[in-house]
């Protein structure tokens, strides 16, 4: 095809696509923004608590330091005390033991409509970033594995879901957003918890307060809270080891998500279970049910919240 033909093709395509003309107005954009905000809030409800955990761990370290100096205040960021706290936390994070020999087990309940079935158990292998979720039992049992990876600088979520009721399974590989700017991050695409660098960035933000020292799951903990615009985060962390014990996120309309955290030993069986999807014999592969696969995908996402926004 010669250049004049290509020019003619371009003209024809413009004619085809431009007639009748299409436009949106301010009301359309407002509706788009409303949909975007709702989706964003819903995603926040299901994504962020694992990340919050590390902040809790970090802040708990700071609390320990403050307590060691005989102080029991509840100063927020932006005060002299907070500056000192953040510095201490950074040091604690950098010297914290690596979870290389453990897997993170999160037991999650959601009082909102997003997960009416009860408790999800979500394992994350911090070495690979791979995630496995178990939900329900018997005919209602679901198993879901997710592997996140970058391809051509675009984050992909590769999910495998097994539905025990209908004895079916599917895979669903979706692209998430557009290409990243600059080099692709090294290591697991999505680790499910904050990296020290991310935590450092968040520590500069105000709003967190110490609200108590309760005992949770047998741990002496420090409780810290963040509240804004009707959204409340509560985090309980072991005051000695700084490990997160529990997080709670309360939304004004979307209910409450509670996550209990357990670092479990990395056994060969658990490592295989989390990193290698297993479909029971006799189950039939079917096309992915978008609504259901999307639901589980949201539940296992451990992307970070934009804290202090």
């Amino acid at each position: 095809m010669t250049s004049p033909e290509e020019t003619a093709l371009a003209d024809t395509l413009r004619d085809l696509a431009g007639s009748p003309p299409f436009a949106i107005d301010a009301a359309d954009v407002a509706a788009i923004e409303r949909r975007g905000r709702r989706r964003w809030q819903r995603a926040l409800a299901l994504r962020g608590l694992a990340g919050v955990a590390v902040i809790a761990l970090a802040t708990a370290g700071a609390v320990g330091a403050v307590a060691a100096h005989g102080r029991t205040g509840t100063g927020g960021a932006g005060t002299p005390g907070t500056t000192r706290m953040a510095g201490y936390v950074r040091q604690q994070i950098e010297t914290a033991p690596s979870p290389a020999n453990s897997l993170l087990e999160v037991r999650q309940t959601d009082s909102g409509a997003a997960d009416p079935s009860g408790v999800d158990t979500i394992w994350t292998d911090p070495a690979t970033g791979n995630i496995m979720l178990l939900d329900g039992s018997g005919q209602a049992k679901l198993a879901y594995w997710q592997h996140d990876y970058y391809k051509n600088k675009v984050l992909n979520e590769d999910g495998t879901q097994v539905n025990y009721g209908p004895r079916t399974w599917w895979t669903d590989d979706v692209l998430v957003g557009g290409p990243v700017k600059g080099p692709v991050p090294s290591g697991p695409a999505e680790t499910g918890y904050f990296t020290p660098a991310e935590v450092k960035a968040y520590l500069a933000r105000p709003g967190w307060k110490i609200t108590g020292y309760p005992t949770v799951d047998g741990h002496s903990t420090v409780e810290i809270s963040f509240s804004k615009d009707g959204l409340t985060d509560d985090i309980w962390a072991d005051a000695r080891t700084y490990e997160v014990v529990r997080t709670l996120r309360k939304f004004p309309r979307l209910g409450t998500i509670t996550q209990n955290y357990y670092w479990v030993p990395r056994s060969a069986a658990m490592t295989t279970l989390v990193n290698h999807p297993k479909v029971p014999a006799g189950f039939k592969e079917v096309p992915a049910d978008l609504r259901r696969s999307g639901d589980l995908r949201h539940r296992v996402r451990h992307r970070r919240l934009d804290l202090g926004r």
């Binding site: 093709l9 395509l13 692209l175 557009g178």
Partner: protein, 171 residues
């Protein structure tokens, strides 16, 4: 206060972007799916996603390219998931109906020929010839090499030419 003003500024930027680019996005969407109303739906979904990732998109080298990529990915995703199988996944179209106006009939045949192409080739043609993107830009947006864009474009044009010769139309 500065935070609030920043957020308001970002919201204004998004609105301006959406109002300005919706028509162009719709043109791409229409040529990729062949359905006017579905294209509208695709544009809305693309802009909803763009809204959500706007803080990141606005910092990209080319917000335009970023959002177009979201659109192409949305089309790909729908095709892959076989959602709306009749109008999207298989991209079937009504047979071109002869029109009194030759020009309209010819355009219908071009559209039909375009929709017969595999999605990757169709996207290559639309981005190259409707959007006027370079091979490098097209490659980056589609996540493939420039060589692939070149070969896909060549195959697409060859197929279009054959199809249009068979239907006695020219482009």
């Amino acid at each position: 206060m500065g935070h609030v003003q920043g957020a308001a500024g970002r919201a204004d930027e998004f609105r301006e972007f959406a109002l300005e680019r919706a028509s162009s996005l719709h043109q791409v969407a229409y040529l990729l799916c062949g359905d006017w109303h579905l294209a509208h739906d695709l544009v809305q979904e693309t802009l909803v996603r763009a809204y959500r990732y706007w803080p990141r998109i606005r910092q990209a080298d080319s917000p335009d390219a970023y959002v177009r990529r979201i659109l192409v990915n949305e089309v790909r995703g729908r095709q892959r998931r076989r959602e709306r199988a009749e109008s999207v996944a298989r991209f079937t179209v009504e047979p071109a109906v002869p029109d009194a106006a030759d020009d309209i009939a010819r355009r219908d045949r071009v559209l039909q020929a375009l929709l017969e192409l595999p999605l990757q080739q169709r996207a290559t043609v639309v981005l190259r010839y409707l959007e006027g993107m370079s091979q490098a830009e097209t490659a980056e947006l589609l996540g493939c090499s420039e060589g692939t864009v070149k070969s896909q474009s060549s195959r697409a044009l060859t197929t279009l030419r054959k199809y249009l010769v068979l239907t006695e139309a020219t482009i």
